[in-house]
């Protein structure tokens, strides 16, 4: 086992997929000659040539739409959206065109398209370059959405997304690209879409999280007075109801830790589902730890508070476990 940067796990996944399947192509801004703004596609152009590794203009509607057409006509495009916010100008092609291609053609046309993007806060990129925006995609029938959390899950999810016959959005927490981790390179490795992982077993509460907050939640679990189970959800839609429900049946408490605003976060659906379908298993009301309903602040002091920290998560979980009452979020608790 060797150590690699998480961004190299993206590269390994793309390179392996391109070697195994001549229909896989990579498109995006600066992905070819420059090797990618985050260096996740470095060397792909030399290895696979300009017909399969395509630099595009700064024109997301144009090239994402082209990827949709290419996918329908037999290719498997992997499109890089540099910062996930950039998809705002191209959303029609994903949410309205790609997502309905199979439905409108009654299964005769499909769109095996992967949209991968750097996402998330924590690095001072400000409010237009720091969101996850998974809620823009989760509510659209026909799309799948997953979030990577380390080198292994990056490789496993990306390979499954490229294998998938339908459009998949892969959100890659940008803050993790420069993490260096042990990685066992196995071209056959996959994480099936829709399958969560229990990354820490526990008995007192089930913490469901994803992305960069997985490591924060693990840190919180280590310092918590309670015995906390941590689930890396991995796929936000369709999410793994079985793993979450079985865990909550054991622990009796559910806490979601989300890099999402309170109103639109993915945890709302999980809490609703568990509360409705497994009410009798709950010892306490489910609790959501989210971002406030506010844009991502630039100030380092504020951004550090905006994102749930390990200390904050541990306090919240401990309060829930010790009282069986959900604590208030910090922005409603301020004196």
């Amino acid at each position: 086992m060797a150590k690699i940067w998480v961004r190299q796990a993206v590269l390994r996944a793309l390179d392996d997929a391109m070697k195994e399947d001549p229909d896989v192509i990579v498109m995006g801004e600066d992905v070819a000659a420059a090797g990618g703004p985050f260096k996740v596609t470095e060397g792909l152009l030399a290895e696979h040539g300009p017909s399969r590794v395509i630099d595009t203009p700064i024109s997301e509607m144009g090239f994402l739409g082209a990827a949709v057409g290419a996918a329908v006509c037999g290719l498997k495009p992997v499109v890089e959206i540099m910062f996930i916010e950039f998809i705002g100008v191209a959303l029609d092609q994903l949410s309205t065109q790609a997502a309905t291609m199979r439905y409108l053609s009654r299964g005769r046309l499909t769109t095996p398209l992967v949209v991968r993007a750097s996402a998330g806060a924590g690095q001072g990129f400000g409010c237009q370059h720091s969101q996850m925006l998974d809620h823009w995609f989760r509510g659209t029938p026909g799309l799948k959405v997953c979030v990577t959390s380390n080198a292994r899950t990056t490789y496993g999810l990306l390979r499954s997304a490229i294998d998938d016959p339908d459009p998949v959005v892969v959100l890659e927490p940008r803050i993790l690209y420069s993490e260096r981790e042990e990685f066992e390179h196995d071209p056959a490795y996959r994480i099936p879409l829709g399958q969560a992982e229990i990354v820490r077993p526990g008995t007192d509460a089930t913490v469901v999280t994803c992305g960069a907050l997985v490591r924060t939640a693990l840190e919180a679990a280590a310092s918590s007075r309670a015995n906390v189970e941590v689930i890396d959800l991995l796929t936000l839609w369709p999410w793994d109801r079985k793993t979450v429900a079985e865990s909550v049946a054991r622990t009796g408490r559910l806490v979601t830790v989300e890099e999402s605003t309170a109103t639109a976060g993915w945890g709302a659906d999980i809490v609703s589902t568990i509360a409705v379908e497994h009410f009798g298993k709950l010892k306490a009301a489910p609790h959501r730890i989210t971002l406030p309903d506010a844009p991502v602040p630039y100030s380092g002091v504020l951004e550090a508070r905006y994102l749930p920290s390990a200390t904050y998560i541990a306090e919240q979980v401990d309060a829930l476990v010790s009282t069986n009452q959900p604590p208030l979020p910090w922005w409603r608790n301020a004196a």
């Binding site: 229909d23 192509i25 017909s51 399969r52 395509i54 595009t56 203009p57 024109s59 509607m61 144009g62 090239f63 994402l64 739409g65 082209a66 990827a67 949709v68 057409g69 290419a70 996918a71 329908v72 006509c73 037999g74 290719l75 495009p77 100008v89 029609d92 092609q93 309205t96 065109q97 309905t100 291609m101 199979r102 439905y103 409108l104 053609s105 009654r106 299964g107 005769r108 046309l109 499909t110 029938p141 026909g142 799948k144 998938d164 016959p165 339908d166």
Partner: protein
Amino acid sequence: MTSLSNSNSPLARREALESRLEQLTRMIEIRSVEERIQKLFGEGHIRGSTHLANGQEAVSVGIARSIDPDDIVTCTYRGHGHALALGVTTVGVLGEICGRTVGCAGGLGGSMHLVEPAVGLLPTAAIIGAGLPIACGAGLAARTRGKDRIAVSIFGDGSSNIGAFHEALNFAAILKLPVVFVCENNLYGEYSRIDLTTAVEDIALRATSYNMPGVMVDGQDVDAVAAAMETAVARARRGEGPSLLEMKTYRYSGHSRSDPATYRRPGELDQWLKRDPIDILARKLVEEKLLAADGLEPLKAEVRDAVERAAQEVLASPHPDLGEIMSHVSAASADGDRRFAFWQ
């Protein structure tokens, strides 16, 4: 006779367009279908809205006769005529618009979403400009896969003001993609005349910015449409890149069902009716001795009867089953992958 039997497959109908008389017949068929749709609406068989293209039949048939069935076509929601020209049957079109299982999208799409992979037609899009980037991708796939295929994107003058138009033309130009962009300039974007909404009245001028040929074409003359298409298609197949064709045409009806088109300039409609595309082709066929001097009216009657038979077949056909709601949302909900394989 030609395509008037509904038992013909979309592919057979497409191939039949090689015949001059069939081209005229198809144009009449498009007109008759649009007229029947208006009537079906009044009879309560159609939901939502429809966008008719009476008057634009020469564009549809001129495009369809100039490309191969495995070339890809993207198109807007004003697509009944294009779908029929490309080969979709009258039952497939009327069935879809009436929401029946015999419709080309099984009744799940409606008027704005007609589709037939067997003749290269991707689902027509209800979003202005959506099809242009998708056509770029179809062209890119053809070239990457080493196929001599091209893509055609059909859109209206209104689309030329949306970002997707400009992004797609630029993208196709820099990659020299085998795409033909066909703008149907019918002078109105929804309810507004082009001079109120668009900085140029000749859309072809916009090709200059994207370093590609921009050609203005008489969209009422099917042969002029086909000649311009053949030049652009040949250029695309040679790998020389995209073209923008502007078909000067006119829609006789309003934007959609609820639009009486009171905004027209006085006399404008009458001027265009004098250059009706069906009459223009019929006169040529009489000169070419392919149609008797008094042959047009009987042909129209014959087509109307065939369209009426199709309408009755549709109205006697079932609505979709409830299970169709959840099918084909994603692969997991489909009964196996029946993906259409282009260019095998």
